[in-house]
């Protein structure tokens, strides 16, 4: 399967996925949109063939994740201070989804890709490890730590 030039089809297939990854790192819609655009620009600048749609998605997720980490690192931003106030929910927020999303956004960057890949995309530990080039045990530990952080952040409500 080769989709070297069909950027429109690739974009339509995966834009929401890439945007979710970027949003989970950047914490604001504007920054997430910029990062999403930059991710797809990589494909425009360096067209390539993918073995399958799954391969295509995995490449884009890892690409977006690395790009966001680079942006955060180069800008010297930190996970919490970088987030616009508007994007963080009111502590008194009653919508559990908002509260959960805030907790996810507040996770350290190193947990965000594994949390997204596991909780949303449903990848197994070994698959995540292969995608990110980490040891499976590292991924397991990060998931365990992230789960603990989320539990604490949600006040044990989950």
């Amino acid at each position: 399967m080769s989709q070297t030039c069909d950027i429109e089809a690739i974009f339509r297939r995966h834009v929401q996925t890439v945007y979710r990854v970027c949003y989970s790192f950047m914490g604001s819609a504007a920054d997430a949109e910029d990062a999403t655009q930059a991710t797809f620009m990589k494909l425009v600048d360096h067209p390539r063939a993918f073995e399958s749609e799954e391969h295509e998605k995995a490449w884009l997720i890892v690409c977006a994740s690395n790009l966001c980490k680079d942006i955060l690192k180069s800008a010297g931003r930190t996970r919490v201070t970088a987030m616009p106030e508007r994007e963080l929910a009111d502590p008194q927020a009653t919508d559990p989804l908002d509260t959960t999303l805030d907790a996810v956004l507040r996770l350290p960057a190193k947990y965000k890709d594994v949390v997204y890949l596991h909780y949303y995309e449903g990848y197994k530990t070994a698959e995540i490890a292969q995608m990110l080039g980490e040891n499976p045990s590292t991924v397991r530990n990060r998931l365990r730590d992230a789960r603990e952080l989320l539990r604490k952040a949600l006040g044990g409500e989950a």
Binding site: C5, I7, E8, F11, R12, V15, Q16, Y19, R20, Y23, S24, A32, E33, T36, Q37, A38, T39, F40, M41, K42, V44, D45, H46, P47, R48, A58, W59, V62, C63, N66, L67, K69, D70, K73, P96, L97, T100, L101, V104, V115, Y116, Y119, Y120, Q130, M131, L132, G133, N135, R147, L150, R151, L154, A158
Partner: protein, 257 residues
């Protein structure tokens, strides 16, 4: 109870992600910009101005794609230092001089041998020829290695073969993992392609996994010079990484430092 909590948390996190959505307007705007960029890029390529993209636009294994697309991989990726370009030509010149000189010495030795009448002709001629050949070969190797430690062997070959050797030398000058053994990834992870100062080991492409990201490799001579490379995952328990230098098709084992 704990399991129920876990399942509930899983579902909550999943739903939270599900709530993140890019608006249709933003999608259309973004797609329009991407298509415009693609059109511009196509126009540039038609004009024959396939200039390298900005550093910002490079991504995981984008250099791999670039090196697959461009014909001579030498020109993909980072611009190489002037001495790297000049070196093969200098080596070619040295080879030419050495070949001419070797031939001259050989014919001179043969002439001296034929002029000598003190010893049996055949024995003297063999000895002189062997000396001349040995001297020629030694000088050839000495000069060639001095010219840049290139792996130039069999330099006493005829001119067309010498060109082939120079091509090989150019190939060698293009990528030498031993010159840039220390690889630093974007996340700060450092690897080496020459563990314990040994020689770099090539990896079979079939073993190479996904790209982990771009990295820079620092020169071993302490000059501070760097080249770009890509780091890949490796399904090998003993080696976690494979490294591919910009403009090169080969993969090398990388060991974490």
């Amino acid at each position: 109870m704990r399991d129920n909590e876990g399942t509930q948390l899983d579902q909550q996190v999943h739903d939270a992600y599900e709530g993140i959505r890019l608006s249709d307007d933003a999608q259309d705007r973004m797609l329009g910009q991407l298509l415009a960029a693609q059109t511009q890029r196509g126009a540039r390529e038609v004009d024959g101005d396939a200039s390298p993209v900005s550093e910002e636009a490079t991504g995981p294994d984008s250099r791999v794609a670039a090196s697959r697309r461009t014909t001579p991989p030498t020109h993909a990726g980072r611009r190489r230092p002037a001495w790297r370009v000049v070196l093969p030509f200098a080596a070619m010149l040295v080879v030419g001089v050495v070949v001419v000189r070797t031939q001259g010495m050989f014919s001179e030795a043969a002439r001296e041998t034929s002029n000598s009448a003190a010893a049996p002709l055949a024995v003297q001629k063999d000895a002189a020829s062997n000396d001349a050949l040995a001297t020629g070969a030694e000088e050839t190797e000495g000069v060639a290695y001095d010219a840049g430690d290139l792996a130039l062997e069999e330099l006493s070959v005829a001119a067309p073969e010498a060109e082939a050797v120079v091509e090989d030398a150019y190939e060698e000058a293009r990528v030498q993992p031993e010159w840039y053994p220390q690889v630093t990834m974007a996340d700060g992870t450092t690897l080496t392609t020459c563990p314990e100062g040994g020689a770099a080991q090539q990896v079979d492409e079939a073993q190479v996994g996904d790209a982990l990201g771009e990295a820079t490799a620092a020169a071993s001579d302490g000059s501070g010079e760097t080249v770009d490379c890509m780091v890949f995952a490796l399904a090998d328990d003993a080696h976690a990484y494979a490294v591919r230098y910009a403009g090169d098709e080969r993969y090398w084992y990388g060991a974490a430092l």
